[in-house]
């Protein structure tokens, strides 16, 4: 890789990081708190890339004028073959740009969710009733993971069994649930999408079942007595009060509180 190409690779990677960081594209891959670091890294790479390109052109012109060898290339004379070989790996930096180009920016969706069940999660100590009171709404908005973990605890289970709550997630289907049931799903992320695990809640009594992978806002109430019809139907189970189709939120993942 010539100094010019290397600087182009640095610039391209920097632009990708900067663009991801300045739009909501990064939220499909990372937790929101990474944003400033991504922007800073992108900005530094863009600056270094531009300056490198300018310098490489200047050096080329000087070299062309004097018909001299490129001083920088010859400075690494101790193992030129190995050096060039390792620098050749720099072309791989095209791959992230190509992946975004070909696949678009995609958050983890129904396919990834269907092929894995929820990983065991760390102990949970969140007081849903207190949180709901602080929200001051009749149907407080919760994360799926709140319902998933809360339903396994005595205090939170009581609250969930007696209150309607609002949830946001995408739809995965399960044939065992019949025509009026589906699974509401959302991924839980602690650092980036590489450590994501799906959180699933079974929804029954829906007026209609939305298409798989579509995002919906659901109001529903936990039913602790419902017996799931098949072992692969996720627990807990909620009875749907209303379903509204929505777009994918800018933050597609949930985090532990």
């Amino acid at each position: 890789m010539s100094p010019f190409d290397a600087s182009c690779a640095v610039l391209a990677t920097g632009l990708l990081a900067l663009w991801m960081g300045l739009t909501d594209a990064m939220l499909k891959y990372l937790k929101p708190s990474m944003r400033p670091w991504l922007v800073l890294a992108g900005a530094l790479l863009v600056a270094v890339g531009i300056r490198g390109i300018v310098r490489a052109r200047q050096r080329e012109r000087v070299a062309a004028g004097a018909e001299a060898h490129d001083h920088d290339d010859d400075a690494h004379a101790h193992s030129p073959d190995e050096h060039a070989h390792r620098q050749g790996f720099g072309w791989l930096l095209v791959l992230p740009v190509l992946v975004v180009l070909v696949l678009g920016q995609q958050s983890l969706g129904a396919f990834a969710a269907a092929h894995s069940s929820t990983r065991n999660l760390p102990p949970y100590s969140f007081d849903i009733a207190a949180y709901a009171a602080s929200q001051g709404e009749s149907e407080p908005g919760l994360q799926l993971v709140d319902v998933y973990l809360g339903a396994q605890q005595r205090g939170n289970r009581d609250y969930l069994a007696h209150h309607v709550v609002k949830l946001l997630g995408f739809v995965t289907t399960n044939p065992a649930l019949g025509p009026r049931g589906f699974v509401l799903t959302r991924f839980l992320v602690s650092c980036c999408a590489a450590d994501a695990t799906p959180v699933k809640i079974t929804m029954i009594d829906a007026e209609h079942v939305p298409k798989a992978n579509h995002w919906v806002e659901v109001t529903a109430q936990y039913d602790p007595t419902y017996v799931v019809p098949a072992p692969d139907v996720p627990k807990p189970v909620m009875r749907v009060h209303s379903i509204k189709a929505v777009g994918e939120p800018s933050e597609p993942y949930e985090g532990l509180r």
């Binding site: 530094l44 791989l92 740009v97 992946v99 180009l101 980036c192 695990t197």
Partner: protein
């Protein structure tokens, strides 16, 4: 792409057509980028989507830390006087190694920043064993990692102490073994520093060279991580289990294969309640020191000869240290 630039004029240097091909490649990518996503509808492979998301997540997660590491390394090369660092570090490994371990523990770093910085320290005359101890402790026991461990294991404050002790012991022992046994040629010689021209140019040249090289290997690492994760879903973990030595070894291998970052691994370990606390400790000790993307970065920065010896040594020492500390404390 088969574009051959026509030679123009007699006085042009020979490198010119090659440069123009590079320019065309990068420009094309820029133009295609405007249509991004339109191709994806032609590729109805959901596995590929998941792979792409995990690949990009791993890349983007590592990128700021790699840039930070490369930036610090280049800043040392360009702005810190030649002998300054070597003078402040003891020459003898038995003093330098523990000191480097503590320095790494105090500095908040991530696994991806540590390798370029450690390599620069070697270039500046720090004993290699000490620089490698720094490389191991910086990501494994910094304040952020210890806090996230405390949050993930609310009922086990001793886990934080155990993680600190086991990681520190691993780094120091690996450093001391390296000081005694390693041959100098195993580690690739650092690039000569660009001391001609002005300092800003030296900084830009060093960042470009180091980033392009390490970034290329990071792409390989991220692609492997994404492939493993797509083939082996995380729920697979729920089906594993065990006790004693089997559990310890399973968790150690998982740490290498999953390659989660050191901030997140405590949350995964905390959930794996079917494993013993000791084996989960081993998971958290091995993970920040040896995993797929880290080994890829070590190959990029220190060379293949180095990584082939250093990664297995670190893995073995980490498993033993984690088991012993776990047996004593947990």
């Amino acid at each position: 792409m088969t574009i051959v630039a026509e030679p123009e004029g007699g006085s042009r240097p020979q490198a010119e057509p090659r440069h123009r091909i590079g320019l065309i490649v990068w420009l094309n990518i820029g133009i295609f980028f405007l249509w991004q996503g339109s191709v994806q509808r032609l590729l109805p492979y959901p596995e590929l989507q998941s792979w792409g998301t995990i690949f990009m997540a791993t890349m983007l997660q590592a990128l700021p830390f790699l840039v930070l590491g490369v930036g610090i390394s280049a800043a040392i090369a360009a702005f810190v006087p030649g002998a300054f660092i070597a003078r402040t570090v003891p020459k003898q490994a038995r003093y330098a190694v523990p000191m480097a371990g503590l320095a790494g523990a105090l500095l908040p770093g991530c696994e991806c920043s540590a390798a370029p910085v450690a390599h620069r320290l070697v270039a500046r005359g720090v004993p290699p064993a000490a620089a490698l101890t720094f490389l191991l402790t910086a990501p494994a026991i910094n304040p952020i990692v210890l806090v996230s461990t405390a949050v993930a294991f609310p009922g086990h404050p001793e886990m934080v102490a155990a993680r600190f002790l086991a990681s520190f012991a691993t780094a120091v022992v690996v450093g001391l073994i390296w000081a005694r046994k390693a041959a100098p040629h195993w580690m690739r010689e650092p690039e000569p520093e660009h001391d001609h021209g002005n300092r800003a140019d030296a900084f830009v040249t060093t960042v470009t060279t180091d980033f392009v090289q390490a970034g290329g290997f990071l792409v390989i690492g991220a692609a492997l991580v994404a492939t493993m994760q797509t083939l082996v879903p995380q729920s697979f973990l729920n089906r594993l289990g065990g006790s004693g030595l089997a559990a310890v070894l399973t968790m150690a291998v998982l740490a290498v294969v999953l390659s989660v970052c050191s901030e997140a691994d405590a949350f995964i370990a905390a959930g794996l309640t079917q494993f013993s606390l000791t084996s989960r400790l081993v998971f958290m000790v091995v993970g920040p020191m040896v995993d797929i993307k880290l080994v890829a970065l070590q190959v990029a920065v220190f060379g293949r000869q180095f990584a082939r010896r250093f990664a297995p040594l670190t893995f073995a020492v980490a498993v033993v240290a984690g088991s012993v500390v776990g047996w004593l404390l947990l």
